[in-house]
Amino acid sequence: MKKVLIFIISIILITTLLAACTQSGPASVLDKIKKDGKILVGTSADYPPYEFVDSAGQKTGFDIELMEEIGKKMGVTVEWVDMPFDSLIAAVKEGKIDISISCFNYDEDRAKEVGFSKAYFNSEDSFIANKDFTGKIEKPEDVAAYKLGVQSGTTQDTWIKENLIDKNLIKEENVQLYERVDQAALDLAAGRIDILMADYVPAKALLKANPGFQMLLHEAIASAGPLNIVLPLNDEKVKTEIDKAIDTLQTEGVIDQLAAKYFGE
């Protein structure tokens, strides 16, 4: 009897705690940003060359430098908050960070939770494998015949789920999810997965670091394409401000310069 009582009270406690989570934020996060003179930007600095750390432990990368430029345009300093990729969306939702830049693609499911800026860059998806891989990959769906690896929470992850698993082209157990893309690369090198699906630019970085890899295919598959900054949901004021900054930087050629610096072939 005591055990039943304990169980019931535990459930009540937990659900009460969870229900206590109500969404209540300021009218626009932009007001707070201007007032504090700084913007809290979340990122997951484990994704070279978009965001990573240099030998001095400083954050660097395409997204990092771009955001610093945007901050300058907005007249505020950027305060970086690093956390695992999966936690970023929730952190913006809960107001722990103001916005997030971390190689995000626009995605319908994400759009229910958070808002997006306009695109600041275009990316592609890619599939990489070991050099000794002999399969023929002519279109993306061909990879369904093999063991796949992908970073969890990414648009690539969603694409695999919706286009391969849900369409019964591949069994769920043949798709391995990873917290970070470098973990997936390790398994690829070890042969635990056959093909790794990732964003084109970091995939190229992996190829550079791992001579044993080869690029099988890269193109703008349905999920990929534009990269957007994640914003609080329905916050028109901050979206306008950030979109403006992106446009300006585009016109000034800053974005192209950064692309050449970090993605240059």
Binding site: S10, A56, G57, V81, D82
Partner: protein
Amino acid sequence: MDLGNFLSYIASGTLYTLGASLIALPAGLILGLLFALLYLYGGKVLSNLMAVYSTVMRGIPPIVLLFVLYFVVSGSVNLSPFLAGSISLGIISSAYQMEIIRGAIQCVSGGQLMAARAIGLSQTQAVREILLPQALRIALPSWSNEAAIVIKDSSLIYALGVPEILRRAQLISASTQQPFLAYSAAAIIYFALVFITTRLLGRLEQKLAIPANP
């Protein structure tokens, strides 16, 4: 040399790891002691409440509790991830420490309490002067174990974005594609922290040991 810089970057996460542990352990001790006393001497209602608390907090994986406490509870109070994470770790540890202390108190023979009451000490005095000094000595070995666990579990706050040792190792591993080096460095640092802590507590144990004839 770049490698040296990377390694010292990982090592500087020790500040956060130690900080989190130094908040979580004492917090867990104060709460755990309070809860143990409430469980044993607080009457039926409080006792049952404490039993529920202990069962729930020890029945959920720490990382899940960490997320619940961080995203849900600190939703209204805006604490930094470091503070929220450290306090959450303390709350989690308090459930385990409560059990350690409770068990230790129950190890002290009932006669000790009886003799204390017999010379006119009140219940509070008896618990404070006679029971606890003996119980805490009994609890030390288990507590040393819990201290090691808290130091290692502090790595969980990486998920909240605290730049402690593990997160830094992850970032370096991603940047340099040298996971073995990065994680070995992290492992060595954690090991050193735990080793030193358990050694120090072992010395404390020896210092506090009550002399007896073999």
